[in-house]
Amino acid sequence: MKRTAILLAAGALGLSVLAGCSAKPVTNAPDAGAAGDTVKIGLNYELSGPVASYGQASVAGIKLAAEEINAAGGINGKQIELVSYDTKSDTAEATTLATKLMAQDKVVTVIGPATSGGMKAQIQVAEKNQVPVVSGSSTADDLTVTNGKLNEYVFRTCFNDSFQGTSAANYSSEKLGATTAVIIKDNSNDYSKGLATSFDAQFKANGGSIVAEEAYATGERNFNSILTKIKGQSFDVIYLPGYYEEAGPAIKQARELGITAPILGGDGYDSPKLAEAAGAGLTDVYFTNHYSSEDHDPKVVEFIAAFKKANGADPNAFNALGYDTLKFVADAVSRAAEPTGSAVKDAMADTKDFVGVTGTFSMDPSTHNPVKSIVFIGYKDGVIAVTEKA
């Protein structure tokens, strides 16, 4: 009896963990207005669920850009009308809503979701309906080009994962003079694995060697054992691509164990939570990012002021990327021969020297990746001490 009870309990608990994943109901009330005098742009973002902060931040940036364009007279005299849905951070929901936006709401472009998983779920729908989808923050390499074939209707306005990993490897070799490195990656996260792979390749190409490669799973808080394991080895830098939730405690524990080597990461570090979690250990930590709020470029300063006025907080990279993405779409719509998905797609692929707050870029027509600069942000004693564009 006792054994049955415990087995039963273990099984029931498994169920409860699964139940925790189910989505909450959310109601949407799109404005089904007449299409004639407006340009309809669909927003398909994660407004609730585990990655809601990415989706919400992107939409805040998009809204600011739309208001600015509308106040200045719209796109070729037409006001922008945003039709916004919530994917609940669910990829299947992203597919359904993308279909709805394209077939029912007849939008000219869909912006979002923020994550690569959600974007990939839309590729088929976009090609079928011939309506472009654009993301400001999906960095997976195989999003725009899958198995060597270009996804014609898929675009992004941020750089991709391999560019981040490659840049971090070059920064380690050239600026930090590193010849040996340790990689600690999140093995349950494509983003982290992608960055690790490209760092590995470039660092070796630069003549360096990877002395150890460790892995953890999302949600890990205890890094002491893997850090103790690498502590006995000699290395110049640690590459720790991942999200701030895990990177923060990992950095804290590394510094407490007396590991002083510089730690590098990717744009997943971009959150004030990183500094809170890592505490005083956040020194000699560098990460690649899309944009820096410390930038003194007049366009960036102007954006920061406008965003602060509208939202009462400093914009982060997702806000800035969302803002740039809408401006990029508006620019393509204004240049398109006619207001249809395929004409807008051609205009997007043709974008040259677009000036955004995350940098000036041109769209590479063969990959649909923007050719743009990357920013290195370095922390010392818990505050940002280095900002370099590369």
């Binding site: 009896m1 006792k2 054994r3 009870a5 415990i6 087995l7 039963l8 309990a9 273990a10 029931a12 608990l13 169920l15 409860s16 963990v17 139940a19 925790g20 585990p50 809601a52 902060s53 093995n187 460790e214 892995a215 953890y216 799973a217 949600g219 890990e220 808080r221 205890n222 002491n224 054992s225 893997i226 103790t228 394991k229 502590k231 006995g232 701030y244 939730e245 923060g248 405690p249 804290k252 407490e256 164990l257 007396g258 939570k273 809170e276 979690a277 505490g279 005083a280």
Partner: protein, 294 residues
């Protein structure tokens, strides 16, 4: 050698946390044969209470620890009175499912109040951020704090269970609730007291983890709760010293697996231990195999 010593210290800190949580599981099981799956969430609430005390009320570590223990103890009693007491005469599975319901309720209520975001404890005073070097081994004040506090609390628990009238009542109810009632023991109050003790320990574990890992969220109780459950089963559920041994064993096993193999396997190893224990020694390490009348 140095690495092994360091890993064992890591394992001890982690094991202390598991042991503290496992004690609550095992005491409750010992007294009413219920696996209280809401226990991991009490630990989470403890972490948040400690966070609130240190961040908003700017209290010191020990005051916050104490307040978290008191609040969690009270929460344990409320959970028992509201959710489990009305079900005391129904089937075991009804109580078990209720426990899972309470667990989800606590998780998502907390999420509704504080949001799903990770929160971090404020900067600690210097005596808690220091570390000692012995050879190449680094022992942080925080791991000493975790181990020390846990050991003190466990000694206190042993004292309560074996040297006080309430402890005697607990042991009596655990052996035979009906006979205990005939002897004039207030069974309901004794059960509530058991929940209070167990929950207070879980609350303490929550604050210790908050200080140690510096990162708390409303779902943080799920996995440690499960592992503490494994620890309790490993030692023999219902047996207090078993929970201690189980907690330290699981902590050490997890640390050594990630230290010498890969950290990706450590959760699998913990649950493999659960399966092996259930197959070969279902009553646990210290348990006696008693044939139950069915």
């Amino acid at each position: 050698m140095e690495q092994l010593a360091q890993q064992l210290i890591n394992g001890l800190s982690l094991g202390s946390i598991y042991a503290l949580i496992a004690l609550g599981y095992t005491m409750v099981y010992g007294i009413i044969q219920l696996i209280n799956f809401a226990h991991g969430e009490v630990y989470m609430v403890g972490a948040y209470v400690g966070y609130a005390c240190m961040t908003f009320a700017r209290l010191g570590f020990f005051e916050s620890l104490l307040i978290a223990m008191v609040v969690c103890g009270a929460l344990g009693v409320v959970i028992e009175r509201v959710a489990y007491k009305p079900l005391r005469d129904s089937t075991r599975i009804a109580a078990l499912i209720t426990a899972i319901g309470v667990s989800l309720l606590l998780q998502y209520t907390m999420m509704a109040f504080v949001g799903a975001d990770v929160r971090t404890y404020p900067a600690l005073p210097d005596y808690l951020t220091a570390s000692f070097h012995i050879g190449g081994v680094v022992i942080s004040a925080q791991s000493l704090l975790i181990i020390g506090t846990s050991v003190l609390l466990m000694i206190a628990l042993q004292f309560i269970v074996h040297r006080t009238r309430l402890g005697k009542a607990m042991r009596a109810v655990s052996m035979d609730a009906d006979a205990a009632r005939l002897m004039g023991i207030n069974v309901d109050n004794t059960i509530s007291f058991t929940f209070m003790l167990g929950s207070a320990l879980a609350g303490a574990a929550g604050v210790l983890v908050g200080v140690y890992y510096n990162s708390i969220n409303p779902l943080m109780g799920v996995l440690p709760g499960l592992k503490a459950f494994v620890a309790a089963v490993f030692g023999g559920i219902g047996i207090i010293p078993g929970a201690l041994i189980g907690g330290y064993f699981i902590g050490a096993a997890e640390t050594l697996v990630s230290g010498y193999f890969s950290s990706l396997y450590k959760d699998a190893v913990v649950f493999a231990i659960l399966i092996l224990v259930l197959i070969f020694r279902p009553a646990g390490l210290l348990g006696k195999n008693v044939r139950e009348k069915v």
